[in-house]
Symmetry: D2
Subunit: 342 residues, 4 copies
């Protein structure tokens, strides 16, 4: 950590900062420049991170040097993490697609969707049982009944299932039934929930919060990793910006940036970013071309009558066509082709 001092400070002010750094158990190195003096602090940066140095009168800025995340950092491990989801290993270099309805509405629609997405090459089925909704008056999912339908459909189709968990009290139940626990964008900094899913060993699909920086995002993953669960899949799903033409702004640059910063797999959800079915394929292709390890796509057999997110759900036949193009784009950027059909 570098402490930048204000210009023209007194020796006394300087000494006060130096002393406080020593009190914190670190070794200060003072360098006097032409106009400004800076103090480099050698030692465990975590000791400094919470120290209130910024409000010392002599201090202008604090420049952290170390990344605040450790287990999530690329340097932590030599090889990319593979997260097993049924037969697929997310992060193995292939482009893996998880697809399914926003919410589980009934068993027939779930089964029909599962069979169609499997036939088109998806490696896992998504389906909401507990739904986070902006309005308290919206449909909030079928809850544990939906979990049972997911289990049944997994048995019938062999597709592993991904579903969201909203409440610390449901983690054990959802972890028992589902193959992968989704933590939604609005819960990305629900630290109690992160801690709790970190206690399981189930894969966790962690969505980026609408205003989470990539550093915040990796720190949220760190919460899970720090509890001993190494199976974290990061999912970029669009951030909130001044632009409202689409529902969110898909931060496509996050994909190559995260691939450099972390060993964790990175997938993209084009459906929530677009908010409109017709723009989903273009965003999906962009994600694959940018180097994503996979996609999370909303699909519905009859989107016009979906109970939630119908506007952004692809029809089954469109999804199959998108999967064809995903394979072509993946090949064009030198990715081992996505899971083949059949």
């Amino acid at each position: 950590m570098i402490i930048v001092l204000r210009p023209h400070i007194s020796e006394e002010d300087l000494n006060r900062v130096v002393e406080q750094v020593r009190e914190l158990g670190l070794t200060p190195h003072v360098s006097r420049g032409v106009t400004r003096t800076i103090i480099g602090c050698i030692g465990d940066e975590d000791l400094l991170r919470e120290a209130p140095l910024l409000s010392l009168p002599a201090v202008e800025t604090i420049l952290p040097i170390e990344k605040p995340y450790k287990l999530a950092a690329r340097e932590f491990t030599a090889r990319p993490t593979h997260v097993a989801l049924g037969a697929a290993a997310i992060g193995d270099g292939g482009v893996h697609v998880i697809a399914g309805p926003c919410s589980v509405e009934d068993r027939p629609m779930l089964r029909q969707t599962a069979e169609a997405v499997k036939a088109a090459g998806a490696v896992a089925l998504r389906g909401g049982a507990f739904k986070p909704r902006t309005s308290p008056y919206s449909f909030r999912g079928l809850g544990s009944a939906a979990l049972d339908m997911l289990v049944e459909v997994r048995e019938e189709t062999g597709l592993p299932v991904v579903t969201e968990v909203l409440d610390t009290r449901h983690v054990a139940l959802v972890a028992e039934k589902a193959d992968c626990l989704q933590v939604g964008a609005r819960n990305m900094q629900n630290f109690a929930l992160l801690t709790e899913v970190g206690e399981t060993r189930r894969p966790v699909l962690l969505k980026r919060g609408l205003s989470a920086t990539l550093e915040d995002f990796l720190l949220a993953a760190e919460y899970i990793l720090a509890r001993g669960n190494p199976n974290v899949i990061l999912c970029e799903r669009g951030i909130r910006t001044f632009e409202r033409a689409l529902r969110c702004t898909l931060d496509i640059g996050a994909v190559p940036y995260l691939k450099q910063e972390t060993h964790l797999p990175v997938i993209v959800d084009p459906s929530h970013a677009a908010g409109r079915r017709d723009l989903v394929p273009a965003l999906a292709m962009a994600a694959v071309a940018a180097g994503a390890d996979g996609l999370l796509i909303e699909v519905h057999p009859d989107p016009d009558h979906a109970r939630s997110d119908g506007d952004q759900s692809l029809r089954l036949d469109t999804f199959a066509a998108v999967m064809e193009q995903v394979r072509d784009v993946a090949a064009a950027v030198g990715r081992p082709s996505a899971t083949p059909v059949g």
Copy 2:
């Protein structure tokens, strides 16, 4: 709700939209303009809110007319809501200040702070027991031991206490001990938590999320109101924008806007917005001048050694000076003066 159709659509496409509106139980009114046709939908807008109309090929945009929140809307009640906090009634026209340390560190510091803020005119004591922290390696509060200290200090000073709750499993415990439950910015859309605090009758201090629109904010309040708890205090604490000179951008315009839109009291937290002690007083004065019903301020007897948020915590004497100025500014904008000293 108004459905705006794309230019030059066919009769068949138009009929498909009209039919779908009818299926949803609403009455469509078609108006043909020079270049565009629009459909006004009379009836319960909630029926339409989730309907996937946007993805019909003929539909260009959906313009909602009704506000999605009802209980939180100004029209719901004739008079501003007063939320009782000890002897104070937040929302009664006065400017009420809640102050205290970021986290409860031990009993002596809590008591010292409580006595000082009470003497300076604060109406309640804040103090974190369970702390949400961006990094899993940061100090996360003393938990239930801190709750007990808050109870003891309330008994000694008479100041009601406000503390944050992070986990649905802790709501009953915190509601038993504290006078007011804080829901933090990062949990503003933790819908499970909102529902749970809505089941209590304790006042809830709801902080605006970093990327929450004011509509999202009011919908989060609606979750609590809809469960039967009318005691919601809204707290603007800065939003996340491109500007990073201060920690957050205090959305001062939210204050007069919310005062128009809702009957709920609106307070401002200048400490988290500034992130730096020296800028807190200016933001506090701005909030009062803009019409806030109160302030939430971090105060610490020795900020240089605080375990969290030391940089933004006011010293006890600075806080007392700020309170003097709060009274003057409140008077200047015609607010019944803040709770007087002694």
Copy 3:
């Protein structure tokens, strides 16, 4: 335009609004809903756009129906606009790449770059003569000497040249020398400049402003079109958001959105969005996969010694490799292959 009235307004208030609409030359249609009354206004929406209706006490919101841009709208013309740049037609369905140095530093480096990008398949050469710089102390380009170098290198290589114009007083000069005038992001709403380039018939490469909505962007294009210059190329180059890991957030969703909204060609500048050389290829591929009509890429024969933007400029050999992959990705999304080599 729809005028939404506040709930429970008086007849008198309603009549005042109706009257004002009539005064403006429009026909009001009043519809009374269960809780709110709305007024549909038939006629030229432009008459209403500037009218101060929002501040009438009875008015809650104004919902525009018509798009404020006309000439730029998709409906204005049946076919996509092709903008001729040398032998290439930007917007013809192919993926066309414009490349070159941030600033023209001297003739040898310009010629070397031009030959290399031409060999790799670029259709035009970019090169800055007048440079907009955030700091007044930065290198601001060689000015008209650089224009002359661009002309010479065009003669030698046959590559048309694109260069930025910053000042209304330079438009005639730059239009005389260059094949395409770039209007930079920071001048996207320099309306005097837009008007002036609209008076020429030179192609204009219009970059999106850092905080311009897509509607603002199309209105800026409209300024140019409205002066009679139909040759506008839109260029997405990243917007400013809270995320600062990359220099800007490339709004990849803008590509498919603009392709629907307008007949104008849409290209992407991955260099300024990334701000870092190593992330440029991933963003370039994403742009092509999302449907962009072309790319604008910074290339330098020796980026480590570039006078500006060295960090984000590709080396000549990397550029050639990127071009190979651009062709593959273009093919994968069914675009007629980019301009072939040789």
Copy 4:
């Protein structure tokens, strides 16, 4: 400037960076920490600012230490700059108000407004002659005819006039007629215009761009100062964020931050931030309470028939009432009272 290297780099990579720093004429100081090595660079930071160091493989981040602005920095001068505007000195500690119509529509309305705002205590008259408009179809001002009206009304009332300049070609004309040149938000990084107004000695009212960081803002001021014109007034007028309930988000924290960072006066425009008349007074009071040196307010004798910005213009009587409250709030925060009436 501090160069932070990636972990585990080779000696060779380290040496390459050290060498490049030396080539740039600076002295590198290498410090080896536990996991990371950093290089402190002593000397003129400007030499490094443009050097493409970030793209060296060994470099992780560049941390600037010096501020990029010099003349605008607080340290440049011992005392706050006073900008003379008629009899008032903006920046002298008082709260000075500039008011007038968005655009000059005709002489009677201008004179009526001038007299009213003068009577209420305003120190200068604003009025648009050349108007920047988002749409090319909007009213763009009366141009030089309006300048003449401003001159006439100044003669009649004694109020100095502030008007916007949009085009480098108009700077001489506007500087001849007006007392203060406004550079609008959308031209804040129109560097040609900044340079040109820097060549005059007229006071410049520089508005912050919608997506300008405070550093960008001060660098824009630096352009003007660097050309020899010391008379710059900074004006915060709201930034663009995800929140669209008000037209812009007034960045109230910018006021105390800028007052620390620069010696230049800082005023606030609550009218453009709010976009709605009813919210203007609250924002105006917040600005004064936060420490602004003045306000820029849109006022119109008949806002319902204004040719532009009618929605946000105050009526003359409301303005007078606002001025009363401005004086009270200024007094409450210890500011020498605003220019008194009469």
